[in-house]
């Protein structure tokens, strides 16, 4: 076990070290071969239980996690909850406690509320893997993207990466910005003004280039990442029409001529063909979209193996991102920069009473 890999949960990329990221990618590389064998199974997680707890619809990510768990011989259970905790009547914490009582080794969670995995991690002994939380992070997507880039470019340091589209609502964009810049790439983002706030420039200390025109972001790019138009997150309320989006912000073949000659195109899926990406690019020679999916299984095998299996760090301390998210930002300063203690009242929040009513959100 690498002394550098000391992680109880995978909640986001932001709090990971370069060594941890590299170790995850290296481990994923070794798992890639398993999927190429005739018998696609190794006994690494035999006897371990992985629960996929999905509060948002997902085919690709859930299937990818399920296949990853099964190829490691884990017992994988899928729970899809179409509604949020409020309308369902049971809180996320109560759901977590009930699952916890069945002693899973790992819970993979996707949820529409940013921070839901952190919430779960505070209440759970199982390893928590964030499979996408609101507009916050999607760490395994960024890892699989990095694995794909590394495979094709041989490196990440020094590359120019352009991320195009609805950056504001994108957890994929955030996780990729953190990961790629930690590994030495420079990142620029572009899209409609309503979906690419200028504050993204200071998301990370090394900075992000924020461009208004996608052409400016694409110049000499080695990697072009196209983000999904997320109609379920009301992307369409931020632009006049999908037609105009397609014309001004949809990636066409001609755009790729601005990028480096050997530029690669990526998309986290599912694609809206003809809106954010043209079929010529999606199906063309520069597209790595299906390889991303293949690498997704390898990355998720590595994550499950390292967090739930034999690779589990013995001295892995419970983290909730507290250390990594503090103190590094220019806005966290002065005598008033707050650091309240994480308050999770496990007793106090027990199901003394179930409230089905929508909580009032005013003070």
């Amino acid at each position: 076990m690498s002394a550098n890999f000391n992680l109880k949960h995978l909640l986001g990329i932001r709090e990971l070290s370069v060594a941890q990221i590299t170790y995850l990618l290296d481990t994923a590389e070794t798992f890639r071969d398993v999927s190429k064998r005739e018998i696609k199974k190794v006994p690494a997680l035999r006897g371990r239980t992985v629960i996929n707890l999905f509060f948002e619809p997902s085919t690709r990510t859930r299937t990818s996690f399920e296949i990853a768990a099964k190829r490691l011989s884990a017992d994988a259970v899928n729970i899809s909850v179409s509604t949020s905790s409020v309308s369902k009547g049971e809180t996320l914490l109560d759901t977590a406690r009930n699952l916890e009582a069945m002693a899973p080794d790992c819970i993979v969670i996707r949820h529409s509320s940013a921070g839901a995995p952190q919430h779960l991690a505070r209440a759970s002994n199982a390893a928590i893997v964030n499979a996408g939380d609101g507009s916050h992070e999607h760490p395994t997507q960024a890892l699989l993207d990095a694995l794909t880039i590394r495979e094709h470019k041989g490196r990440i340091a020094g590359l120019k990466v352009a991320i195009i589209g609805d950056v504001l609502h994108s957890r994929v964009a955030r996780s990729n910005i953190y990961l790629l810049s930690k590994l030495g790439a420079s990142v620029s983002v572009a899209g409609p003004g309503t979906l690419v706030p200028p504050e993204f420039a200071e998301l990370i200390e090394s900075g992000v280039r924020v461009e208004r025109r996608i052409e400016d972001a694409l110049v000499d790019a080695d990697v072009v990442m196209i983000l999904r138009v997320q109609r379920e997150r009301q992307t369409d309320a931020f632009v006049p029409s999908m037609r105009e989006y397609a014309v001004h912000y949809g990636l066409q073949l001609r755009h790729l001529n601005l990028a480096a000659p050997d530029a690669i195109a990526m998309h986290p899926g599912p694609m809206n063909r003809g809106i954010e990406i043209s079929s010529e690019i999606a199906d063309g020679g520069r597209s790595l979209i299906l390889e991303q999916v293949t690498n997704g299984v390898a990355v998720r095998m590595a994550v499950l193996y390292l967090l739930a299996g034999a690779g589990k760090s013995e001295n892995g301390t419970k983290r909730n991102g507290k250390n990594a998210t503090r103190g590094s930002s220019p806005t966290n300063r002065g005598p008033h920069a707050g650091s309240p203690r994480g308050v999770v009242d496990r007793e106090g929040s027990a199901a003394k009473r179930t409230r089905n009513s929508k909580p009032e959100t005013r003070n």
């Binding site: 921070g115 504050e199 909730n320 920069a337 309240p340």
Partner: protein, 445 residues
């Protein structure tokens, strides 16, 4: 019944007093201030406040007592107990109860419950519009007759400027201050924290400072148009404070308050998705805190108010964007205000001014917020050097939703006296209890 709060240091900005005096109280009213060397008046019980500051009873302009309707969060009795434990002799109850306090019946109910509790004075604030829905005027006159001291649709700013104008004009007829929680809903867009660096990092929907600022500017323009008394609740942004500053320069009758969490914590505190950092207005960035501190220094900010907003632990244990906004504040406000004194932002006289003198003046509470002759004998006794630790589990509130649990404070309200009755003593200050024994004239002290 006679009481002498002897040997303390009296700070009463309303009278311009800042000196060693004893406060002589009879039958729930202040008779006058005596010199330390004066004889103890005949038949007086004596509280020896040597080394302590004796101030007019603190007044919290902005409290959510949750009763009627949300008694599982707080009742008027538990809220009043929390108030006096935090040094507040008086609280003003915001109308967003269920039913909303938009009628004399609800107003009378609140006053009756407060009288039954016999702890803090409770002055209800009535709704500005019926059911705080922002469409029809509430019966302000009836409510004023029943005892309200101001009108507000707190938490739901009246969306239509035309309606707000009419409400301000109507309130002016009863000389009721209009209190507004400035938040333009179309800009706030259901945001759950301040829009800025941290909302981007955390992927949480942000509400921009401009959501507060456009409403503050609108309200100040309407104050100019109508001549109404306008009070902006818990201002938290540079722009809102600047709007108040300009309105005051113009001579408009505009005042504002600030809540302690807004200068104590930045939006960086949300980083762990702790729902006890979720409130409305949200925690802001350092730039806005600097503006708050400047406003406290230069007098633009008139009052400190707790915005005590209790919520049950079950509700706060939800996902960040699902949890309700608000934190408790009655028992931490004075301690956090002392932080300002300890950091040299304001002096202790100004602390008394923003917690007692000005709230009484803004709300027109006669004979309160001062220790002048004939004032109600509401007294807050302060120990500026007392060190204590916030322990949410021992709060008198029914709720525990505070981000300040475990915080070490220097400076506290150590005794609260309401109408001449000692209603709260901080643990360790039992010596301030009235003995029940009446001392003879000239008795030793």
């Amino acid at each position: 019944m006679r009481l002498l709060i002897a040997n303390g240091y009296v700070i009463d900005p309303a009278q311009g007093i800042n000196t060693g005096k004893s406060v002589f109280i009879e039958d729930g009213r202040v008779v006058g201030l005596l010199s330390h060397s004066d004889d103890v008046p005949e038949g007086c019980e004596v509280i020896d406040a040597v080394g302590l500051i004796v101030a007019p009873g603190f007044i919290d302009m902005h409290t959510h007592l949750r009763e009627p309707g949300h008694e599982y969060k707080e009742t008027i009795a538990s809220g009043a107990a929390s108030a006096v434990a935090g040094g507040f002799a008086t609280v003003c109850a915001m109308p967003n109860t269920d039913p909303v306090n938009d009628s004399a019946a609800v107003t009378r109910f609140i006053i009756e419950q407060a009288e039954n509790a016999r702890l803090a004075n409770v002055f209800p604030i009535g709704a500005l519009t019926k059911n705080s829905a922002g469409t029809e005027l509430a019966e302000m006159g009836e409510m004023k007759d029943a005892g309200i001291v101001a009108v507000s649709d707190d938490g739901r700013s009246v969306p239509s400027p035309g309606m707000m104008r009419r409400a301000m004009e109507y309130a002016r007829g009863f000389d009721l201050p209009v209190i507004d929680h400035c938040e333009d809903k179309s800009l706030a867009r259901g945001g759950v924290m301040h829009e800025g660096h941290w909302s981007l990092v955390l992927g949480l929907r942000g509400m921009p400072a401009a959501a507060e600022e456009v409403d503050a500017l609108r309200d100040c323009a309407l104050a100019e148009l109508t001549g109404a008394r306008l009070h902006l609740a818990h201002v938290s942004t540079r722009g809102a404070i600047e709007a108040v500053r300009r309105a005051k320069e113009k001579g408009l009758r505009v005042t504002c308050e600030v809540a302690p969490h807004h200068w104590t914590l930045t939006d960086a505190a949300v980083a762990d998705y702790d729902t006890n950092t979720k409130m409305s207005p949200p925690l802001r960035s350092w730039d806005h805190i600097e503006a708050i501190l400047a406003g406290l220094r230069d007098g633009t900010i008139d009052a400190i108010a707790s915005d005590h907003a209790p919520h049950h632990a079950d509700e706060k244990a939800l996902e960040y964007d699902q949890a309700p906004s608000g934190i408790t504040g009655l028992e931490t406000a004075v301690g956090l205000a002392f932080d300002l004194v300890n950091q040299g932002v304001i002096d202790i006289e100004r602390l008394v001014e923003v917690l007692a003198t000005n709230p009484a003046r803004i709300l027109g509470l006669e004979n309160r917020g001062t220790l002048g002759a004939d004032a109600y004998a509401d007294v807050t006794i302060l120990d500026p050097s007392f060190q204590w630790t916030v322990d949410a589990s021992r709060s008198k509130s029914k709720s525990r939703n505070t981000p300040f649990d475990g915080r070490v404070m220097t400076g506290a309200a150590v005794a609260t006296i309401v109408a001449g009755r000692v209603v709260f003593l901080h643990p360790g200050f039992e010596r301030l209890a009235t003995s029940g024994k009446v001392l003879a004239k000239g008795g030793s002290r």
